[in-house]
Symmetry: C2
Subunit: 275 residues, 2 copies
């Protein structure tokens, strides 16, 4: 029996993409990365909500969510633990920035093996570094998981020490925004805080889940506040809740807020055991 195809382009197995697709030409589109554990994606409704809202902001037609659900299930079929990436672009277009009058979006659904995160990482946390790159401020694109990700590529290229898991990103004014691949939360003075993302950054689906189940203060967060945090952790749709063990010179120990959210993620079905 043939293995199931792990890649669908507009529903066709292992199809290729037109080199004239606007997703390539201009990064004109967006994506979702969705963890599937034993065929189930606990945060699927939140992914679809962000996709709908982001499509509206980019003037893209809303995709057929039932179709996406069938295709995501098909590419992840038989995988114990998968990450499904859904990419929606504005489709093939003529040369030039003007949006086609009747866009025919391209839909790519692909499954990858979920990255392995060591139990020790969930238990003790990961090491963060501060990136030199400062995120540019573009309110019209802030929050959207769009295809213009050169800043993340350049930021991730700043280090190659494998013991450093991620890099902290600030905006031009020195405010904490997120990491290259996750959102950041801090417990400061007993309150759970996460940066507002009105000017830059990606508004993650895991972040939305935390906001839904905990009281969180969404506000500007200065880098100088982090050494005073009692807890520091990352949220990611792929990895769930991961404590930060150290950021620059400051060492953190996972506390009760981090542990409670990790428990919530386990209840959602994510394998984030930490011992």
């Amino acid at each position: 029996m043939a293995a199931p195809s792990r890649l669908l382009v507009d529903g066709a197995a292992d199809a290729a993409l037109s080199p004239l697709d606007r997703g390539l030409a201009y990064g004109d589109g967006l994506f979702e990365t969705i963890r599937f554990v034993a065929g189930r994606a606990a945060l699927w409704p939140r992914h679809m909500q962000r996709l709908r809202e982001s499509c509206a902001r980019l003037c893209l037609p809303a995709p057929d969510e039932a179709l996406l659900a069938r295709e995501a299930a098909a590419v992840a079929d038989g995988m114990a633990d998968a990450v499904v990436r859904i990419t929606i672009t504005r489709g093939v277009g003529e040369r030039g920035y003007a949006m086609p009058a009747s866009p025919q979006p391209t839909r790519i659904v692909a499954a990858f093996a979920a990255p392995v995160t060591a139990p020790e990482t969930y238990r003790d946390g990961l090491r963060l570094r501060l990136c030199q790159l400062r995120l540019a401020e573009q309110p019209l694109l802030a929050g959207i998981k769009h295809l213009n990700r050169l800043e993340q590529v350049l930021a991730r290229a700043e280090w190659d020490d494998p013991s450093i898991a991620d890099g902290l990103l600030l905006d031009g004014a020195g405010r904490v925004i997120c990491t290259t691949m996750a959102n950041l939360f801090a417990v400061i003075g007993g309150a759970l805080v996460t940066p507002s993302l009105e000017r830059c950054g990606v508004a993650g689906v895991a972040r939305a889940e935390v906001l839904a189940v905990r009281e969180v203060r969404v506000r500007e967060l200065a880098l100088g506040e982090l050494p005073h945090a009692q807890e520091l952790f990352l949220s990611s749709s792929v990895r769930g809740i991961v404590p930060v063990r150290s950021m620059a010179e400051t060492v953190y120990v996972p506390g009760p807020v981090t542990r409670a959210l990790q428990s919530h993620w386990r209840e959602l079905g994510f394998p984030t055991e930490h011992s």
Copy 2:
């Protein structure tokens, strides 16, 4: 006899692209749009220079320029007036922002019919509008013609009046930077001025040609200076030198600097006759 292929992917005629290409996933790459008149691209060396410098800034291997020249000539073969788009991406990669240790860049070379610009436009100029979108400031990407062009897509979608040819873009501080598809020059107090592009904007190849043949002051340019300009014109590798006839409420008449540069472009072989 078969028509020549107008599209090459890594040298293969009419080939498709992997949906896992980082050019699509992250906009991880760059491009050049090069005017070919009767098979000749007068600004080819400047395009190659920008491509080399941009590849270095994005940590991409430098492409084989002789190969690009052969492929560009092949796709434009038999076309009286073409625009050749060369796209270089970081190639196929695993999921994740980290650059592959040994990237295999993807090379796409495609020919399109050159857009028709009316003789009246070269003679009298075009209408500009002011875009509401403000360009984000990212010095690490400024000047590069990279594949992250959602800002230009959104800016171009601000109007659909076909009598308006282009939109002026400011940065967050209100400084004039460029238009959605060209660089801008102004004659102010007798001096030729163009905005500095240290924080955002694309450093066009036609702009580089103007800088090479005229004395130009490259400096910050405030929007409030434009109504006092004696001449205003755009430079573009595709369209050459095009006067601005009106920007918002201000009307301009093409002057001697604009005409001299149009003459220079005609000497380079561009069909920019204005009568």
